[in-house]
Structures are given as structure tokens and as C-alpha cells.
């Protein structure tokens, strides 16, 4: 199985707090990985570093064999890395259709077109329809994204991340704020896409039911360092991990 992403010795300090402490991880294609850990463990920071939103103090990142440590965000996206945000980040004044059109247009390289009309582009339109159907937002296509319910915004958020056709997709707490129906739907989609091998997912989650149901592999972070890394069963039986979650009836 091909290695998609590899990090070597990632370090990041915010003042004296170590948000990432010598993290060296490797992500394989097709392996659905969950990253878990108590609050403040550095999970979001790690994703920020991998996607280029934050610069590490030291360390290197390789994607499909290429050194991407110094690449800006949009270049990494173009190479096939994408993410959704913990605090939903969408285009609030644009309709759902327009929201999704943007990453699709970027992916298809049609952004520098000044005189053609977006409405009339069939290629873009079909892909947008497709995405809306995947997350179940077709009936809200013309609604302004800012007016969507919180759960729908999270769905849109995930669809936006998928729209860039990434090989590696980071989802930061994807189901936060969703009602059970939406949650089931999105998890089914993630499982299906992961099995199709079309996308490799790395998910940050707090809901342990989801983590253990979906993941092929679990990575546990604590205070910025990797504390455990393995199959769900191994993690469940890991004493150190149990200690970290002591007092939290999650496992």
C-alpha cells in the first residue's frame, strides 16, 4: 500500500507549551486513521501544520514522496490534501451551489476565466450536483450558506473538503453538532469513500463510538506527542491510553 504522507520530527511550540513534540507519523493510502487525545493534545495544531495553515518550528513533511514542508496552503490542496474545519468555515454569503462550485472550479483550472458564465458550465454543474447529493443538500442548493442549520453547515463543510478531489482528507471533528440522522449519513459516506479507495481519511474525533466503528488505525496524541499508534483493538487494551483517559468513561 502506497505511503501518502510522512512527517519527520515535527515540532511546534506556542511559548513554552509544546503543541507538537517530535511527531513522526506515516499515513498509508486507504487506511482510515483516527487521531484522538484529550483536549489540548495538539490534534488541531497537527492538522494545521500538515495542511500548511501553520508553520512548524522544525521537521519535515513529505507527500507522495515530495517535500512539501515549505509549500503554501493552496499548493498543498492542488497536490491532493484537503481538510474540513472544526469551527465550520464556509462561504456564508454564497449559496450552497456557489460554495461547492469554488473548489470544483479551482480543481478544474477554470478560475482564470473572466467572461464565461459559471451558471452555464455543465461540467462544474454536474460535479456540484454530485457533491450535494453525497451529503444530502440538493434541496438546499440555492440557499445562502449562512442561513443553513448548524448540522447542514457541517455537511457543506465536508462536501467542500471533498470537492477538491483530495487523495488525503483531514476531517476535524466532522460530526460535531450534527443530529443522529446526519451523523449516520455522513459516516456512511466516509466509510463508502474510504472503501472505494478514492479518498484516504484522517479524522480527529472525540466520539469514541465513531472512532472504534470506522477506524482501521488509531493514533493517540497527548501533549503534542504520539503516545500510541495501532489497530483499534490494540489501543483499547493499551494501559497508557487508559490512564490518559482516566476519569473519562469513554473507552
Amino acid at each position: 500500500m502506497a505511503e501518502l504522507l510522512r512527517t519527520e520530527g515535527i515540532r511546534k511550540f506556542f511559548g513554552v507549551v509544546s503543541a507538537a513534540n517530535n511527531v513522526s507519523l506515516s499515513f498509508q493510502e486507504g487506511v482510515l486513521t483516527s487521531i484522538i487525545g484529550p483536549n489540548g493534545a495538539g490534534k488541531t495544531t497537527f492538522i494545521n501544520i500538515l495542511t500548511g495553515h501553520v508553520k512548524p518550528d522544525s521537521g519535515k513533511i513529505f507527500f507522495k514522496g515530495q517535500d512539501i514542508t515549505d509549500l503554501p496552503v493552496h499548493s498543498r490542496v492542488q497536490k491532493g490534501i484537503s481538510r474540513s474545519f472544526q469551527i465550520g468555515d464556509i462561504f456564508p454569503k454564497l449559496t450552497v451551489k456557489e460554495n461547492l462550485a469554488i473548489p470544483v472550479i479551482a480543481k478544474k483550472g477554470k478560475g482564470m476565466s473572466f467572461l464565461s458564465q459559471v451558471e452555464k458550465d455543465r461540467e462544474v454543474g454536474e460535479r456540484v450536483q454530485d457533491l450535494m447529493r453525497t451529503v444530502g443538500l440538493e434541496d438546499k442548493a440555492n440557499m445562502e450558506a449562512g442561513f443553513l442549520s448548524h448540522g447542514d453547515q457541517r455537511l457543506l463543510e465536508i462536501a467542500l473538503a471533498m470537492a477538491s478531489e483530495p487523495s488525503l482528507l483531514f476531517l476535524d471533528e466532522p460530526t460535531a453538532g450534527m443530529n443522529p440522522v446526519e451523523r449516520v449519513r455522513i459516516l456512511e459516506q466516509i466509510r463508502k469513500l474510504s472503501q472505494d479507495r478514492s479518498m484516504t481519511f484522517v479524522i480527529v474525533e472525540h466520539d469514541m463510538d465513531i472512532v472504534f466503528a470506522l477506524s482501521d488505525r488509531i493514533v493517540v496524541l497527548h501533549r503534542g506527542a504520539v503516545v500510541a499508534d495501532g489497530r483499534p483493538q490494540e489501543i483499547r487494551e493499551n494501559d497508557q491510553v487508559k490512564e490518559i483517559y482516566l476519569g473519562e468513561e469513554v473507552l
Partner: protein
Amino acid sequence: MERKAQGYLFTWILIAFLLALPFFGGQYVLYMVIQILILSVFALGFNLLLGYTGLLSFGQAGFFAVGAYASAKVLLVFPSLILGVGAGVLAGALAAAILGVLCVRHTRIYFSMLTLSFGMMIYSLAWKWREVTGGDDGLVGIPRAPMGIPGIFQLDMSPMSHYYYFVVVVCLGAIFLLRRMVQSPFVLILKGIRDSETRASFAGIPVRRYKLLAFIVAGAYAALAGSLLPPLENTVTPPIAHWTHSAEPVMVTLLGGIYSFYGPIVGSFFFYILKDVIVRFTQYWLICFGAIIVFLVLAFRGGLVVFYEERILPWLRGRITKGG
């Protein structure tokens, strides 16, 4: 559907009116409409940055001036209107490209501060660089050159009505071009950048590049507007680069409506009427100007277009259905 047809009808009526105006309007009316059209083009470029990209530029007058001075310098040497206007637009686009590289790499606040500063830098150049710009006397004797292609045809522009038609054609062309552009993928991406730069870069968009392009288009439009001025007035002086002139597209767009395409045009029209009235009563129109801006921000942010859509249209529809 019915609304779109309404829109088309209104547009064609307006165009017919503009074309017919010289037959019943005097010189002063033509002059005023030319000024309104020039300001509309100026403000539309400004709003591409503000309403569509979320960038507030307080220095657009700088590019207006670049267009005006460039066109004037060319006209003084080669009396060809097309050449003059063309040179103005190119000069403006070039200036915007150079200054834009510095301005767009920063946060929105820095951007606004930098544009104000650069605009005034251009003003200070216009004012002090006597050898090139004529200093505070400016450039004079600029001909209202004929429009034509050498060897093929030549149209005399000295009658006001002829120049009026030239301005109408050029401005309407620019407006339609921009109208088409705002439906393009490029502007959709600008809107995305306006709503969330982070999200846009995570969608794979090189945000800085798009901001720079928008800045260049806005600069070109400002310069186009500026280049139409010298043949009209036969002079160019530094005040057109001053920040108080940069305030005009700001106010006009706010008045008409920032988040509407036609806002700047509607605002330009009402602004001219307003200014015409105010100036008859007092020389202190800057304070009126400023007070109107403050009032609009505090109480009337949507502008006239939104006011029309949310208050007048439903009321009109109500009247019609009642009577019908």
C-alpha cells in the same frame, strides 16, 4: 423570470434615453451625464474590490489620476482620442499591478491604510513634479482630439454631443463588460475570498493572485474613467488624485448599495443630483458628504438598491395586485 424581463426592459429604455438625450437636452445636461457615467465606471471598479472581494481601497483616485495624466500627455503629442484613452487605461493597469503587489499581501486593514497612503503618494507626485505633471497648475490645452483610425476614418469630437456619444459608448461597453465578468468563475472566486480567505485557500485558490488581478481591473477602470476627463475639460490638475476624490466612489457605492452590481451606478446618479443641489446653498459640501456617509453607515447600510428591493418593490406589487 418576470423580474429578469423587467430588468432588460428597464436597461433598454435607459439606453434609448441616453442615446436620445442630445436631441432635447442642453450642453449642461450632457456634461452632467458624462460626469455621472465617468463616476459610475470609477465606482464600479472600486466596488469590484469592495463588494465582490472585500477589499476597501481608499486610493482609487490615484489610478484615476494616472489615467487622466497619461491620457493627457499622449493627447498633447498625438491627438488621437483612442490612443489617449488606451494609454490611460494601460498606465492605470500598470500602476495598479506594481502597487498591488505590495498591497494585497496583507490583512484587510493594512490594505486599506496602504491604499490611502499610495493614493496620496501619487497626489504628492502630481503636485510637486512640475516638469512632468505641471505641478499645481497641471496640464493645460489638452485637445478634444478626434476619434479615428488613421487612414480609415476620423470623427470630430469638438461638439459636446459627439464627445457625449463617445463617452456613452465607452462607458456602456465597460459596464456591460463588468456585468458579464461578475457572472464568471473569476468573480465567484473573488466572492469566496471575500467571505473567507482561509476557506478559499483551502479550496485550492492562490488568494493573493486573485486579489492582485481584482486590484488591476479596478485600477484599469479607475484609469479609464480618468482618461475620459482631459478631453472634456481640456485640463488636468492634481486634486483628482487627492483622497477626497477617493472618497467619491466610497460614498457613491455606499449610497447605492455595496452588495449590488448596480449600486455604484445608482449612487453616482443620486450623488450628482445631491451635489448639484448642495453646492448651490453652501461651499461646505465636504461636511455634508461626510455626514451622509456617517448616516448611511449607521442607519442605511444596504443602500438605495436594497431599500428599493425590500421596501418599494413589495409596496408597488401590493398596489398593483390591489388595483388589478
